[in-house]
Amino acid sequence: MTTAPAGRGAFDAHRPPERDLLDDCVHCGFCLPTCPTYQLWGEEMDSPRGRIYLMNLAEKGEIGLQGPFHEHIDRCLGCMACVTACPSGVQYDRLLESVRPQLERNVERSRGDRLFRNAIFALFPYKRRLRAAALPGALYQRLRGVPAVRRLAARLPGRLGALESLLPPVNVREAFATLPAHTPAVGERRARVALLSGCVQDVFFHRVNEATVRVLAAEGCDVLVPRDQVCCGALELHAGREDPALGRARRTIETFERLDVDHLVTNVAGCGSSMKEYAHLLADDPEWVERARVFSARVRDVHEVLADLLDDGGPRAPRHPFRGRVAYHDACHLGHAQRVRTQPRAVLRSIPELELVELPEAELCCGSAGIYNLVAPEAAAQLGERKAANVRSVGPTVVVTANPGCLLQIGRHLGTDLPLLHPMQLLDASIRGTAVPVR
């Protein structure tokens, strides 16, 4: 019999938050103004500084994980705005990444919460189930074959309804469409890339994927879309469901590593940020650590690839001018987590006559944050309203953002009068000279 290594304080031995990382925080509070939950409630425990303070106490064994601690960690959106704001370089992202799995392992959640979370994770990472859910008609009818959803519906039909209301209507053609496995570059090839098509993205925003493939090809990229790809595990990773997330990470690596491409490209901020983390996630797994490192090093957000191509010889495809004000919303997982801020702006500016406008409170999360608008709908709605008001305040013609979660969330609060797009849709329309779509 082997004894498990002793945990630290209230944490178990499997990757507790590192003492050095906790000590980096000097309690200066510079993170407070950018933290969405502190903005909403003004409570210290719901700020990054407060959460790190509680982690600190838990690590020293002065408080337990159950109760206030897990509630306040649960309320964190994981937007990582605090990481951008921190002058001391505190790696809150790493801290949260180690604490959330600890909670999943060691905290007893209420039955309702458990059922709801199980249902979410029985649905979102599965394209097939999402398609079923997306079709017109009651969610439950389509999903009764999935045990976790059936259990939720039996106990808490209300929350199932909440889930359903978040999913936008989508037409059958789009939900079931698939991308071509290989799209050749237009003209001389400048790069060869493989595209992660995503789960929510491919079902609800298939048109974004199509636009992305067309733009990449027009800019001189051969685009491969492996048919056997699975969910990258981002949603589970950000919710602390470590084991399933790692499983998906390994399968994703397997699928993509054998391709002879320059970059593994994604147009989803959340997926990009998790795939860039694989190397760290699998650092304890000797069989996978090197493969993960090589994989993560090849991951690029589509804007990074396009901005590099712009720098290296300028745009290949001629653009048609777009006369209007474009408000770009930084998706948290792109801006804060991946620090990709200048590239999307550079790509948008490659469209002639386009006027790029910045949003007030740009650093503040829209409230989507992975599954946050499902598990904390009230807070998410307040943040969504606030984001929508900030968007309206600059009077844009079009709003663009590079994450399906943000598109869904902002779309709900902004209404339908203002076009809300992924930047690739706008660029695609500019290259093709077609009308700018509304969604």
Binding site: C28, G29, F30
Partner: protein, 484 residues
């Protein structure tokens, strides 16, 4: 002994139960402010939503003899918002409305939880701004600024919080509401507004503040100059002053501080240089250009090794980012550090820095220096490693530096406040009579001693039965001041 249930429910009635935190774990998040060395868990944390609720909460305190401590963003560096055992923390973080921006009279009326930078952001569309700019301006609140009489990099030209607050509505320790100051600088009777600003939360809680706004300067010119020695940089400051120029800001950083800031924000400082000087001039374009040329010539005359003039708003922002991030950035080059905040007469800067260096050497600890060179306000950062058992030595060095400033004719604190941290050092700067008179003023506001007790003035409980004996102030010995 914790507060009993009746008192709890009285507070819940005062502020609304949803604005009370009574869970001991949650309360621990409030056990310290920006100075983490002192920690006390409050019994309750109240988060009132308006002035009436603040007053109601304070009335409950008065009625039941419960001590209270007001808290803004908890960024203070002197332990001014340290809770009191069996007391309550009244957090102003939910009083964050901007009540009025009056561009005609150039003023703003705001609640205490509004951050310093939010005032400027709200005024900016009218071509106005709020001048005091403490380094933590993006997070620190105006209520905290009023309590601490915060300065900032630009206070050399523009003054401190007290010079910009026209009026403040205050909940007194008995729970009544009064207003100090008014719509103009003219006041009927003594300047109670001036006494309240900078009283570190010991005379009451501000619930509404009227501040002056200034027109955004037409021109701002900023330069970053490297020097081979601190002395040379200091001479530049003296010459600028002697030339009759009042810069908007003059900031100095030494090698260690530059290294930390550069690591944190990559602002374009030269790593390895002995001293960097940030000089900023603002004002009418004609004036600014003439004086800026003078400043450049003065820099050259003192052996400046690199002169970087901000060519755009972004470059200027980068220079300031480096300077303003310096404190927190020191966390990158040292596991732990203490920040000091002493002031010396500007002409003694060179001397005090030499002595700090010698003291650091003797203590075997590194000291990084960031300071407002224009007004002699030093921020020595004593670097140490708690894990290596250096805490006590660092604490001692830090206190010695503060007292050195007093010895050189200066002050214990230029802007961070006395708070908990330096209360016991007050007898080094003030006589027993000085402190007794301050206590009389305090008692006039707070006869029951419930309002942020233990801060600012030394108490036997905190500092031992006999606070350190008063030694004659050197100015006294020099005959500059008299003490009877």
């Amino acid at each position: 002994m914790a507060l009993d249930k009746t008192i709890h429910s009285a507070f819940a009635r005062a502020t609304g139960p949803e604005n009370v935190i009574d869970d001991p774990v949650r309360c621990r998040a409030y056990e310290c402010d920006g100075l983490t060395g002192y920690r006390v868990v409050p019994d309750l944390v109240l988060l009132p939503r308006d002035a009436a609720a603040v007053a109601a909460a304070v009335r409950v305190c008065a009625e039941h003899g419960v001590a209270f401590v007001a808290r803004g963003a908890g960024t203070g560096l002197s332990g001014g918002a340290l809770p009191v055992a069996d007391g309550v923390v009244i957090s102003l973080s939910r009083l964050r409305r901007i009540l009025e921006i009056d561009p005609v009279n150039r003023r703003a009326v705001i609640e205490p939880g509004v951050t310093n930078l939010e005032i400027t952001a709200a005024a900016a569309p009218h071509g106005l701004y709020y001048a005091p700019d403490p380094s933590s301006q993006q997070v620190c609140t105006i209520g905290g600024n009023v309590a601490e009489n915060s300065g900032g990099a630009h206070c050399l030209k523009y003054g401190f919080t007290t010079n910009h607050v026209l009026a403040t509505e205050v909940v007194l320790p008995d729970g009544s509401i009064v207003t100090f100051g008014g719509d103009s600088p003219e006041q009927a009777g003594p300047d109670l507004r001036g006494v309240f600003v900078g009283s570190e939360g010991t005379l009451g809680i501000t619930t509404k503040i009227t501040v002056r706004l200034l027109p955004t300067p037409e021109t701002v010119r900023t330069l970053l100059a490297d020097f081979p020695s601190i002395g040379a940089a200091g001479d530049v400051v003296s010459d600028i002053v002697a030339a009759g120029i009042v810069p908007a800001a003059v900031e100095m950083m030494d090698t260690l501080a530059i290294e930390a800031a550069e690591q944190a924000v990559h602002a374009g400082y030269t790593v390895g240089v002995a001293a960097a000087l940030v000089v900023e001039l603002d004002g009418p374009v004609e004036e600014c250009e003439v004086q800026f040329d003078q400043v450049k010539r003065i820099c050259d005359r003192h052996g400046c090794t690199r002169l970087h003039i901000a060519g755009s708003a972004e470059e200027r922002a980068a220079i300031w980012r480096g300077r303003k991030a310096a404190f927190a950035a020191v966390g990158r080059i040292s596991p732990d550090y203490f920040v000091q905040d002493g002031v010396v007469p500007r002409t003694r800067l060179g001397e005090v820095l030499d002595r700090i260096a010698a003291m650091g050497k003797a203590a075997g600890l590194r000291v990084a220096n960031v300071f407002h060179a224009g007004d002699g306000n030093l921020h020595p950062l004593v670097l140490y490693n708690a894990a290596a058992g250096e805490t006590e030595r660092a604490e001692r060095l830090s206190a010695q530096i503060a007292e050195l400033c007093v010895e050189l004719g200066g002050s214990l604190s230029g802007e961070h406040g006395i708070g908990t941290d330096k209360a016991c050092s007050m007898p080094k700067m003030f006589s027993r009579d000085d402190l007794a008179v301050m206590q009389r003023v305090r008692d006039a506001f707070d006869p029951d001693g419930l309002c942020n007790p233990g801060k600012v003035l030394p108490t036997p409980r905190l500092c031992g039965e006999r606070p350190g004996p008063y030694r004659p102030h050197p100015l006294e010995e020099a005959g500059v001041i008299e003490r009877l």
